[in-house]
Amino acid sequence: MINMFDPLEIRKHFPIFERFQRDGIVYLDNAATTQKPSEVINAIVNYYENSNSNVHRGVYRIGEEATDLYNRSRENIARFIGGTPEGTIFVRNATEALNLAASSLTRMLGGEGEVLVTRMEHHSNIVPWQIASSVSGIRLRMMESHTDRPLKWEDIEKDITGKTKIVSVTHVSNLLGTINDLREVGKNLHDLGIIFIVDAAQSVPHMPVNVNDLECDLLAFSGHKMLAPSGIGVLYGKPELLDRMPPYMGGGEMIKEVFEDHFTAADIPEKFEAGTPNIEGAIGLSAAVDFLKNLGMDNVRNHEKDLISYTLRREQEMNMPSLISYGPRDPEVRGGIYAFNIRKKDGGDRPFGNEVHPHDISHLADRIEGVELRSGHHCAMPQTVSLGVYATARASFYIYNTRDDVDHLFDVIGKIERRMIK
Protein backbone atom coordinates (compact mmCIF):
# COMPACT_ATOMS: atom_id res chain seq x y z
CA MET A 1 0.00 0.00 0.00
CA ILE A 2 2.48 2.61 1.19
CA ASN A 3 5.95 1.93 -0.12
CA MET A 4 8.19 4.81 0.69
CA PHE A 5 7.77 6.37 4.07
CA ASP A 6 6.26 9.63 2.97
CA PRO A 7 4.20 11.56 5.53
CA LEU A 8 2.38 13.46 2.79
CA GLU A 9 1.29 10.18 1.22
CA ILE A 10 0.35 8.86 4.64
CA ARG A 11 -1.87 11.89 5.27
CA LYS A 12 -4.04 10.90 2.36
CA HIS A 13 -5.25 8.00 4.45
CA PHE A 14 -6.46 10.32 7.21
CA PRO A 15 -9.76 12.06 6.42
CA ILE A 16 -9.21 14.66 9.17
CA PHE A 17 -6.29 16.10 7.19
CA GLU A 18 -8.83 17.60 4.80
CA ARG A 19 -10.02 19.71 7.66
CA PHE A 20 -6.49 20.37 8.87
CA GLN A 21 -5.61 21.64 5.42
CA ARG A 22 -8.73 23.78 5.16
CA ASP A 23 -8.25 25.36 8.59
CA GLY A 24 -4.47 25.44 8.57
CA ILE A 25 -4.08 23.13 11.53
CA VAL A 26 -0.74 21.55 12.43
CA TYR A 27 -1.54 18.73 14.84
CA LEU A 28 1.32 18.15 17.29
CA ASP A 29 -0.42 16.44 20.19
CA ASN A 30 0.19 12.82 19.27
CA ALA A 31 1.47 11.77 22.67
CA ALA A 32 -2.04 12.60 23.93
CA THR A 33 -3.88 10.90 21.10
CA THR A 34 -3.44 10.17 17.40
CA GLN A 35 -5.65 10.54 14.34
CA LYS A 36 -7.49 7.64 12.68
CA PRO A 37 -6.85 6.46 9.12
CA SER A 38 -9.75 5.43 6.84
CA GLU A 39 -8.59 1.84 7.21
CA VAL A 40 -9.47 1.96 10.91
CA ILE A 41 -12.68 3.95 10.45
CA ASN A 42 -13.83 1.58 7.72
CA ALA A 43 -13.09 -1.52 9.78
CA ILE A 44 -15.40 -0.16 12.48
CA VAL A 45 -18.14 1.00 10.12
CA ASN A 46 -17.95 -2.31 8.30
CA TYR A 47 -18.43 -4.14 11.56
CA TYR A 48 -21.47 -2.00 12.43
CA GLU A 49 -22.96 -2.49 9.00
CA ASN A 50 -22.40 -6.22 8.66
CA SER A 51 -21.55 -8.25 11.73
CA ASN A 52 -22.46 -6.24 14.82
CA SER A 53 -23.42 -8.58 17.65
CA ASN A 54 -22.19 -9.75 21.01
CA VAL A 55 -19.18 -12.05 21.20
CA HIS A 56 -18.37 -15.36 22.86
CA ARG A 57 -21.78 -16.88 23.32
CA GLY A 58 -23.61 -16.49 20.03
CA VAL A 59 -23.89 -19.63 17.94
CA TYR A 60 -25.71 -17.86 15.15
CA ARG A 61 -24.09 -16.48 12.03
CA ILE A 62 -23.32 -12.86 12.84
CA GLY A 63 -22.49 -13.82 16.42
CA GLU A 64 -19.87 -16.16 15.04
CA GLU A 65 -18.58 -13.52 12.67
CA ALA A 66 -18.24 -11.00 15.49
CA THR A 67 -16.51 -13.57 17.70
CA ASP A 68 -14.19 -14.48 14.87
CA LEU A 69 -13.32 -10.82 14.18
CA TYR A 70 -12.73 -10.25 17.87
CA ASN A 71 -10.50 -13.31 18.27
CA ARG A 72 -8.52 -12.61 15.13
CA SER A 73 -8.01 -9.03 16.30
CA ARG A 74 -6.57 -10.34 19.52
CA GLU A 75 -4.25 -12.71 17.64
CA ASN A 76 -3.08 -9.97 15.33
CA ILE A 77 -2.36 -7.55 18.16
CA ALA A 78 -0.61 -10.27 20.17
CA ARG A 79 1.63 -11.07 17.21
CA PHE A 80 2.48 -7.38 16.80
CA ILE A 81 4.16 -7.31 20.21
CA GLY A 82 5.50 -10.86 20.03
CA GLY A 83 2.97 -12.15 22.57
CA THR A 84 0.35 -14.87 22.68
CA PRO A 85 -3.41 -14.36 22.37
CA GLU A 86 -4.11 -15.75 25.83
CA GLY A 87 -1.64 -13.25 27.30
CA THR A 88 -3.31 -10.34 25.52
CA ILE A 89 -6.07 -8.83 27.63
CA PHE A 90 -8.30 -6.12 26.25
CA VAL A 91 -8.82 -3.19 28.60
CA ARG A 92 -10.01 0.40 28.11
CA ASN A 93 -6.58 2.00 28.08
CA ALA A 94 -3.10 1.82 29.55
CA THR A 95 -4.49 3.31 32.74
CA GLU A 96 -6.90 0.45 33.27
CA ALA A 97 -4.15 -2.03 32.41
CA LEU A 98 -1.98 -0.63 35.20
CA ASN A 99 -4.89 -0.50 37.66
CA LEU A 100 -5.69 -4.11 36.89
CA ALA A 101 -2.05 -5.01 37.47
CA ALA A 102 -1.81 -3.03 40.71
CA SER A 103 -5.04 -4.37 42.17
CA SER A 104 -4.58 -7.99 41.19
CA LEU A 105 -0.87 -8.24 42.00
CA THR A 106 -1.40 -6.61 45.37
CA ARG A 107 -3.89 -9.32 46.25
CA MET A 108 -1.68 -12.04 44.78
CA LEU A 109 1.24 -10.85 46.90
CA GLY A 110 -0.89 -10.78 50.04
CA GLY A 111 -0.69 -7.00 50.23
CA GLU A 112 2.95 -6.92 51.18
CA GLY A 113 6.23 -5.67 49.79
CA GLU A 114 7.43 -2.69 47.84
CA VAL A 115 6.75 -1.39 44.35
CA LEU A 116 9.46 0.65 42.70
CA VAL A 117 8.62 3.24 40.05
CA THR A 118 10.58 6.16 38.62
CA ARG A 119 9.99 9.88 38.94
CA MET A 120 9.30 10.10 35.23
CA GLU A 121 6.16 7.94 35.38
CA HIS A 122 2.80 9.01 34.07
CA HIS A 123 0.17 9.32 36.82
CA SER A 124 -1.26 6.05 35.52
CA ASN A 125 1.79 4.26 36.85
CA ILE A 126 1.75 6.09 40.18
CA VAL A 127 -1.80 6.58 41.42
CA PRO A 128 -2.91 2.92 41.03
CA TRP A 129 -0.07 1.94 43.37
CA GLN A 130 -1.01 4.71 45.79
CA ILE A 131 -4.57 3.41 45.84
CA ALA A 132 -3.27 -0.15 46.33
CA SER A 133 -1.13 0.97 49.23
CA SER A 134 -4.08 2.78 50.82
CA VAL A 135 -5.94 -0.55 51.09
CA SER A 136 -3.04 -2.94 51.79
CA GLY A 137 0.48 -3.17 53.10
CA ILE A 138 2.01 -2.65 49.67
CA ARG A 139 4.36 0.36 49.64
CA LEU A 140 5.18 2.59 46.69
CA ARG A 141 8.69 3.95 46.32
CA MET A 142 9.74 6.44 43.67
CA MET A 143 13.34 6.24 42.56
CA GLU A 144 15.21 9.20 41.18
CA SER A 145 15.76 9.21 37.46
CA HIS A 146 17.75 11.55 35.29
CA THR A 147 16.14 14.05 32.97
CA ASP A 148 18.97 14.07 30.46
CA ARG A 149 19.64 10.38 29.90
CA PRO A 150 17.82 7.05 29.86
CA LEU A 151 17.21 4.94 32.90
CA LYS A 152 19.48 1.88 32.98
CA TRP A 153 19.61 -1.32 34.97
CA GLU A 154 22.29 0.18 37.22
CA ASP A 155 19.93 3.01 38.22
CA ILE A 156 17.24 0.54 39.22
CA GLU A 157 19.62 -1.85 40.93
CA LYS A 158 20.70 0.82 43.42
CA ASP A 159 17.14 1.18 44.69
CA ILE A 160 16.20 -2.45 45.04
CA THR A 161 15.83 -3.76 48.57
CA GLY A 162 14.90 -7.14 49.99
CA LYS A 163 11.31 -5.95 50.08
CA THR A 164 11.04 -5.06 46.39
CA LYS A 165 8.41 -7.23 44.76
CA ILE A 166 7.56 -5.23 41.66
CA VAL A 167 9.42 -2.78 39.42
CA SER A 168 7.15 -0.80 37.12
CA VAL A 169 8.73 1.66 34.70
CA THR A 170 7.81 3.57 31.62
CA HIS A 171 9.48 2.57 28.39
CA VAL A 172 9.34 6.09 26.98
CA SER A 173 8.68 9.20 29.05
CA ASN A 174 5.67 11.16 27.79
CA LEU A 175 7.24 14.39 29.04
CA LEU A 176 10.98 14.10 28.38
CA GLY A 177 10.77 11.73 25.43
CA THR A 178 13.49 9.59 27.02
CA ILE A 179 13.67 6.06 25.64
CA ASN A 180 14.72 4.06 28.65
CA ASP A 181 17.27 1.31 28.27
CA LEU A 182 15.39 -1.75 29.48
CA ARG A 183 17.74 -4.42 28.13
CA GLU A 184 19.06 -6.47 31.03
CA VAL A 185 16.36 -5.16 33.37
CA GLY A 186 13.94 -8.05 32.86
CA LYS A 187 16.60 -10.73 33.15
CA ASN A 188 18.15 -9.19 36.24
CA LEU A 189 14.84 -8.64 37.97
CA HIS A 190 13.80 -12.21 37.33
CA ASP A 191 17.01 -13.47 38.86
CA LEU A 192 15.90 -11.61 41.96
CA GLY A 193 12.34 -12.94 41.73
CA ILE A 194 10.93 -9.47 41.09
CA ILE A 195 7.98 -8.80 38.77
CA PHE A 196 8.77 -6.44 35.90
CA ILE A 197 6.06 -4.19 34.44
CA VAL A 198 6.53 -1.91 31.45
CA ASP A 199 4.29 1.06 30.70
CA ALA A 200 4.58 0.95 26.92
CA ALA A 201 1.92 3.60 26.17
CA GLN A 202 4.56 5.75 24.44
CA SER A 203 6.67 2.98 22.91
CA VAL A 204 4.38 0.43 21.24
CA PRO A 205 2.94 3.14 18.94
CA HIS A 206 6.34 4.49 17.97
CA MET A 207 8.95 1.75 17.66
CA PRO A 208 9.35 -2.01 17.38
CA VAL A 209 8.47 -3.53 20.77
CA ASN A 210 8.72 -7.21 21.54
CA VAL A 211 7.67 -8.56 24.91
CA ASN A 212 10.16 -11.41 24.66
CA ASP A 213 13.09 -9.11 24.05
CA LEU A 214 11.93 -6.91 26.90
CA GLU A 215 11.53 -9.98 29.13
CA CYS A 216 8.70 -8.18 30.90
CA ASP A 217 5.98 -9.84 32.94
CA LEU A 218 3.31 -7.28 32.17
CA LEU A 219 3.09 -4.53 29.58
CA ALA A 220 0.47 -1.83 29.08
CA PHE A 221 -0.55 0.33 26.14
CA SER A 222 -3.51 2.27 24.70
CA GLY A 223 -5.05 1.97 21.24
CA HIS A 224 -5.90 5.64 20.82
CA LYS A 225 -2.21 6.58 20.84
CA MET A 226 -1.56 4.32 17.83
CA LEU A 227 -4.26 5.23 15.27
CA ALA A 228 -6.99 3.14 16.93
CA PRO A 229 -10.20 4.21 18.69
CA SER A 230 -10.26 5.37 22.28
CA GLY A 231 -11.79 2.95 24.76
CA ILE A 232 -9.46 0.07 23.86
CA GLY A 233 -6.05 -0.87 25.19
CA VAL A 234 -4.04 -3.90 26.15
CA LEU A 235 -2.52 -5.45 29.22
CA TYR A 236 -0.11 -8.05 27.98
CA GLY A 237 1.05 -10.60 30.53
CA LYS A 238 3.04 -13.78 30.67
CA PRO A 239 0.43 -16.52 30.78
CA GLU A 240 2.06 -18.23 33.79
CA LEU A 241 1.75 -15.02 35.78
CA LEU A 242 -1.75 -14.15 34.58
CA ASP A 243 -2.87 -17.64 35.58
CA ARG A 244 -1.79 -16.92 39.14
CA MET A 245 -3.29 -13.44 39.36
CA PRO A 246 -6.80 -13.17 40.83
CA PRO A 247 -9.51 -11.62 38.64
CA TYR A 248 -9.99 -7.86 38.68
CA MET A 249 -13.60 -7.17 37.73
CA GLY A 250 -16.38 -9.71 38.02
CA GLY A 251 -19.35 -10.32 35.74
CA GLY A 252 -20.26 -11.90 32.45
CA GLU A 253 -17.67 -13.59 30.20
CA MET A 254 -15.01 -13.86 32.92
CA ILE A 255 -16.56 -16.81 34.74
CA LYS A 256 -16.85 -20.54 34.25
CA GLU A 257 -19.68 -20.93 36.73
CA VAL A 258 -21.49 -18.74 39.24
CA PHE A 259 -23.12 -20.06 42.38
CA GLU A 260 -24.88 -18.30 45.19
CA ASP A 261 -21.75 -18.01 47.31
CA HIS A 262 -18.84 -18.25 44.90
CA PHE A 263 -17.75 -18.33 41.29
CA THR A 264 -15.07 -20.09 39.29
CA ALA A 265 -13.03 -17.91 36.95
CA ALA A 266 -12.66 -18.53 33.22
CA ASP A 267 -9.23 -19.18 31.73
CA ILE A 268 -7.10 -16.27 30.53
CA PRO A 269 -7.56 -13.95 28.76
CA GLU A 270 -11.33 -14.03 29.46
CA LYS A 271 -10.68 -14.17 33.21
CA PHE A 272 -9.76 -10.48 33.06
CA GLU A 273 -12.44 -9.31 30.63
CA ALA A 274 -15.68 -8.83 32.53
CA GLY A 275 -18.81 -7.84 30.67
CA THR A 276 -19.33 -7.06 27.04
CA PRO A 277 -15.98 -5.90 25.69
CA ASN A 278 -15.28 -3.02 23.33
CA ILE A 279 -15.62 -5.22 20.26
CA GLU A 280 -15.30 -2.54 17.59
CA GLY A 281 -12.43 -1.08 19.59
CA ALA A 282 -10.54 -4.36 19.31
CA ILE A 283 -11.32 -4.57 15.61
CA GLY A 284 -10.17 -0.97 15.14
CA LEU A 285 -6.94 -1.61 17.04
CA SER A 286 -6.23 -4.61 14.86
CA ALA A 287 -6.75 -2.50 11.74
CA ALA A 288 -4.39 0.10 13.22
CA VAL A 289 -1.79 -2.59 13.82
CA ASP A 290 -2.09 -3.65 10.17
CA PHE A 291 -1.58 -0.06 9.10
CA LEU A 292 1.53 0.28 11.24
CA LYS A 293 2.96 -3.09 10.21
CA ASN A 294 2.50 -2.04 6.64
CA LEU A 295 4.57 1.07 7.29
CA GLY A 296 7.11 -0.88 9.27
CA MET A 297 7.81 0.02 12.88
CA ASP A 298 11.49 0.57 12.12
CA ASN A 299 10.48 3.17 9.58
CA VAL A 300 8.10 4.78 12.05
CA ARG A 301 10.90 5.05 14.59
CA ASN A 302 13.38 6.39 12.03
CA HIS A 303 10.93 9.00 10.87
CA GLU A 304 10.38 10.25 14.38
CA LYS A 305 14.08 10.18 15.10
CA ASP A 306 14.56 12.41 12.10
CA LEU A 307 11.89 14.81 13.33
CA ILE A 308 13.29 15.08 16.84
CA SER A 309 16.85 15.57 15.50
CA TYR A 310 15.58 18.31 13.27
CA THR A 311 13.67 19.83 16.20
CA LEU A 312 16.73 19.93 18.43
CA ARG A 313 18.79 21.39 15.59
CA ARG A 314 16.20 24.09 14.87
CA GLU A 315 16.05 24.93 18.54
CA GLN A 316 19.80 25.41 18.64
CA GLU A 317 19.77 27.58 15.53
CA MET A 318 17.00 29.75 16.98
CA ASN A 319 19.34 30.58 19.84
CA MET A 320 16.48 32.05 21.84
CA PRO A 321 17.59 32.58 25.44
CA SER A 322 14.05 32.44 26.79
CA LEU A 323 13.38 29.01 25.29
CA ILE A 324 14.01 26.17 27.72
CA SER A 325 13.47 22.56 26.76
CA TYR A 326 13.81 19.26 28.59
CA GLY A 327 14.97 15.72 27.98
CA PRO A 328 18.01 13.98 26.48
CA ARG A 329 19.70 15.72 23.52
CA ASP A 330 20.73 12.51 21.80
CA PRO A 331 18.08 11.54 19.21
CA GLU A 332 19.11 7.90 19.58
CA VAL A 333 17.53 7.79 23.02
CA ARG A 334 14.77 10.30 22.42
CA GLY A 335 11.27 9.75 21.08
CA GLY A 336 9.36 12.37 19.10
CA ILE A 337 8.42 14.44 22.12
CA TYR A 338 9.52 18.02 22.76
CA ALA A 339 8.48 19.76 25.98
CA PHE A 340 9.50 23.37 26.54
CA ASN A 341 8.88 26.65 28.31
CA ILE A 342 9.37 30.30 27.41
CA ARG A 343 10.79 32.35 30.24
CA LYS A 344 12.63 35.62 30.42
CA LYS A 345 15.79 34.63 32.25
CA ASP A 346 16.18 37.81 34.31
CA GLY A 347 12.82 37.84 36.05
CA GLY A 348 10.77 40.89 35.10
CA ASP A 349 8.41 43.56 36.28
CA ARG A 350 5.21 41.54 36.50
CA PRO A 351 4.51 40.63 40.07
CA PHE A 352 4.21 36.94 39.15
CA GLY A 353 7.36 36.64 37.13
CA ASN A 354 8.04 36.69 33.45
CA GLU A 355 7.30 33.09 32.59
CA VAL A 356 4.86 32.60 29.75
CA HIS A 357 2.24 30.24 31.07
CA PRO A 358 2.21 27.06 28.94
CA HIS A 359 -1.55 27.39 28.62
CA ASP A 360 -1.00 30.71 26.94
CA ILE A 361 1.62 29.14 24.72
CA SER A 362 -0.74 26.50 23.47
CA HIS A 363 -3.68 28.89 23.23
CA LEU A 364 -1.64 31.40 21.26
CA ALA A 365 0.04 28.74 19.11
CA ASP A 366 -3.40 27.61 18.07
CA ARG A 367 -4.83 31.07 17.46
CA ILE A 368 -1.79 32.54 15.74
CA GLU A 369 -0.66 29.65 13.61
CA GLY A 370 -3.00 26.68 14.05
CA VAL A 371 -0.24 24.76 15.81
CA GLU A 372 -1.85 22.34 18.27
CA LEU A 373 0.27 21.82 21.38
CA ARG A 374 -0.60 20.37 24.73
CA SER A 375 0.20 22.26 27.92
CA GLY A 376 0.14 21.35 31.58
CA HIS A 377 1.79 18.74 33.71
CA HIS A 378 1.02 16.05 31.10
CA CYS A 379 -0.07 13.71 33.88
CA ALA A 380 3.51 13.61 35.11
CA MET A 381 3.43 16.00 38.06
CA PRO A 382 6.33 14.52 40.03
CA GLN A 383 8.59 14.85 36.98
CA THR A 384 7.25 18.30 36.10
CA VAL A 385 7.78 19.59 39.62
CA SER A 386 11.31 18.17 39.61
CA LEU A 387 12.03 20.36 36.58
CA GLY A 388 11.24 23.35 38.77
CA VAL A 389 8.12 24.33 36.84
CA TYR A 390 4.39 23.89 37.17
CA ALA A 391 3.75 23.05 33.58
CA THR A 392 5.30 22.81 30.15
CA ALA A 393 4.13 23.10 26.57
CA ARG A 394 4.66 19.94 24.53
CA ALA A 395 4.85 19.05 20.85
CA SER A 396 4.74 15.36 19.94
CA PHE A 397 5.07 13.79 16.51
CA TYR A 398 3.70 10.87 14.60
CA ILE A 399 3.83 9.27 11.18
CA TYR A 400 2.01 12.11 9.41
CA ASN A 401 4.18 14.94 10.73
CA THR A 402 6.88 16.61 8.66
CA ARG A 403 9.89 18.90 9.06
CA ASP A 404 7.57 21.57 7.79
CA ASP A 405 5.45 21.09 10.88
CA VAL A 406 8.56 21.57 13.00
CA ASP A 407 9.27 24.81 11.15
CA HIS A 408 5.75 25.98 11.96
CA LEU A 409 6.39 25.15 15.59
CA PHE A 410 9.48 27.34 15.81
CA ASP A 411 7.79 30.10 13.85
CA VAL A 412 5.05 30.28 16.36
CA ILE A 413 7.39 29.99 19.32
CA GLY A 414 9.16 33.07 18.00
CA LYS A 415 5.90 34.94 17.61
CA ILE A 416 4.71 34.02 21.09
CA GLU A 417 7.94 35.23 22.58
CA ARG A 418 7.63 38.57 20.83
CA ARG A 419 3.98 38.84 21.90
CA MET A 420 4.45 37.86 25.54
CA ILE A 421 7.94 38.87 26.55
CA LYS A 422 8.14 42.54 25.92
Partner: protein, 129 residues
Protein backbone atom coordinates in the same frame (compact mmCIF):
# COMPACT_ATOMS: atom_id res chain seq x y z
CA UNK B 1 -17.30 -29.94 4.23
CA UNK B 2 -20.87 -28.99 4.68
CA UNK B 3 -22.38 -26.52 7.06
CA UNK B 4 -25.50 -28.58 7.38
CA UNK B 5 -26.06 -29.60 10.91
CA UNK B 6 -29.65 -29.62 9.75
CA UNK B 7 -29.30 -32.78 7.71
CA UNK B 8 -26.04 -34.40 8.83
CA UNK B 9 -26.74 -38.11 8.99
CA UNK B 10 -23.53 -38.96 10.81
CA UNK B 11 -24.14 -36.44 13.58
CA UNK B 12 -27.70 -37.61 13.99
CA UNK B 13 -26.75 -41.23 14.15
CA UNK B 14 -24.25 -40.65 16.93
CA UNK B 15 -26.59 -38.31 18.78
CA UNK B 16 -29.45 -40.77 18.73
CA UNK B 17 -27.23 -43.69 19.75
CA UNK B 18 -23.99 -42.48 21.24
CA UNK B 19 -21.30 -45.20 21.22
CA UNK B 20 -19.42 -46.09 24.39
CA UNK B 21 -21.81 -44.09 26.55
CA UNK B 22 -21.56 -44.93 30.24
CA UNK B 23 -19.16 -45.21 33.14
CA UNK B 24 -16.10 -47.34 33.87
CA UNK B 25 -15.88 -48.43 37.49
CA UNK B 26 -12.34 -48.05 38.87
CA UNK B 27 -10.92 -46.38 35.75
CA UNK B 28 -7.19 -45.73 35.28
CA UNK B 29 -7.94 -42.11 34.49
CA UNK B 30 -11.06 -40.03 34.76
CA UNK B 31 -11.91 -36.38 34.34
CA UNK B 32 -14.79 -33.93 34.38
CA UNK B 33 -14.76 -31.11 31.84
CA UNK B 34 -17.17 -28.21 31.40
CA UNK B 35 -17.70 -25.85 28.51
CA UNK B 36 -18.26 -22.50 30.20
CA UNK B 37 -19.99 -21.16 27.11
CA UNK B 38 -23.00 -23.41 27.51
CA UNK B 39 -22.55 -25.44 30.66
CA UNK B 40 -22.06 -28.66 28.73
CA UNK B 41 -20.40 -31.25 30.88
CA UNK B 42 -18.61 -34.46 30.10
CA UNK B 43 -17.25 -37.07 32.48
CA UNK B 44 -14.79 -39.34 30.73
CA UNK B 45 -13.21 -42.59 31.89
CA UNK B 46 -10.25 -44.54 30.53
CA UNK B 47 -8.81 -47.98 31.03
CA UNK B 48 -5.19 -47.93 29.88
CA UNK B 49 -2.45 -50.49 29.54
CA UNK B 50 0.69 -51.18 27.49
CA UNK B 51 0.53 -47.63 26.20
CA UNK B 52 -2.86 -48.23 24.66
CA UNK B 53 -6.39 -47.03 25.26
CA UNK B 54 -8.06 -50.29 26.26
CA UNK B 55 -11.47 -48.83 26.97
CA UNK B 56 -13.06 -45.39 26.81
CA UNK B 57 -16.44 -44.36 28.18
CA UNK B 58 -18.14 -41.07 28.98
CA UNK B 59 -21.29 -39.60 30.39
CA UNK B 60 -22.22 -36.36 28.70
CA UNK B 61 -25.05 -33.96 28.94
CA UNK B 62 -24.82 -31.69 26.02
CA UNK B 63 -25.77 -30.67 22.58
CA UNK B 64 -25.88 -32.48 19.28
CA UNK B 65 -22.33 -31.52 18.49
CA UNK B 66 -20.71 -32.33 21.81
CA UNK B 67 -22.49 -35.65 22.24
CA UNK B 68 -21.88 -36.73 18.65
CA UNK B 69 -18.25 -35.69 18.74
CA UNK B 70 -17.65 -37.57 22.00
CA UNK B 71 -19.20 -40.64 20.41
CA UNK B 72 -17.18 -40.34 17.20
CA UNK B 73 -13.98 -39.67 19.13
CA UNK B 74 -14.50 -42.68 21.37
CA UNK B 75 -14.84 -44.92 18.31
CA UNK B 76 -11.75 -43.49 16.69
CA UNK B 77 -9.42 -43.87 19.69
CA UNK B 78 -10.55 -47.16 21.16
CA UNK B 79 -7.61 -49.57 21.16
CA UNK B 80 -5.19 -46.99 19.75
CA UNK B 81 -1.71 -46.20 21.09
CA UNK B 82 -1.68 -43.26 23.48
CA UNK B 83 1.25 -41.70 21.61
CA UNK B 84 -0.64 -41.89 18.36
CA UNK B 85 -3.78 -40.33 19.83
CA UNK B 86 -1.69 -37.52 21.30
CA UNK B 87 -0.60 -36.71 17.77
CA UNK B 88 -4.18 -36.10 16.64
CA UNK B 89 -4.86 -32.42 16.13
CA UNK B 90 -7.96 -30.38 16.80
CA UNK B 91 -8.48 -30.17 13.09
CA UNK B 92 -8.49 -33.96 12.80
CA UNK B 93 -11.36 -34.09 15.26
CA UNK B 94 -13.25 -31.39 13.45
CA UNK B 95 -12.82 -33.17 10.15
CA UNK B 96 -14.23 -36.41 11.57
CA UNK B 97 -17.45 -34.51 12.21
CA UNK B 98 -17.57 -33.35 8.62
CA UNK B 99 -19.02 -29.99 9.65
CA UNK B 100 -17.76 -26.49 9.19
CA UNK B 101 -18.33 -25.05 12.64
CA UNK B 102 -18.11 -21.53 13.97
CA UNK B 103 -15.80 -20.77 16.90
CA UNK B 104 -18.54 -21.14 19.52
CA UNK B 105 -19.59 -24.58 18.32
CA UNK B 106 -16.00 -25.67 17.87
CA UNK B 107 -15.74 -25.53 21.65
CA UNK B 108 -18.64 -27.96 21.85
CA UNK B 109 -16.97 -30.29 19.38
CA UNK B 110 -13.64 -30.18 21.19
CA UNK B 111 -14.89 -30.67 24.74
CA UNK B 112 -14.39 -34.45 24.64
CA UNK B 113 -11.07 -34.10 22.83
CA UNK B 114 -9.79 -31.67 25.48
CA UNK B 115 -10.86 -34.06 28.23
CA UNK B 116 -9.15 -36.99 26.54
CA UNK B 117 -5.90 -35.18 25.85
CA UNK B 118 -5.65 -33.95 29.44
CA UNK B 119 -5.97 -37.48 30.77
CA UNK B 120 -3.46 -38.89 28.30
CA UNK B 121 -0.89 -36.21 29.09
CA UNK B 122 -1.24 -36.94 32.76
CA UNK B 123 -0.88 -40.66 32.05
CA UNK B 124 2.28 -40.15 29.98
CA UNK B 125 3.82 -37.90 32.61
CA UNK B 126 3.21 -40.48 35.31
CA UNK B 127 4.50 -43.27 33.09
CA UNK B 128 7.79 -41.40 32.65
CA UNK B 129 8.46 -41.17 36.37
Amino acid sequence: MSDDIIYSAIIDEHYEEPRNFGKIEDPDEDIMETNPTCGDTIAMYLRLGDGKIREIKYVARGCLISVASASILSERVSGKDVSEVLKMSKNDILSYLGLDLGPAREKCALLSYDALIKMLRKYEKEAKK
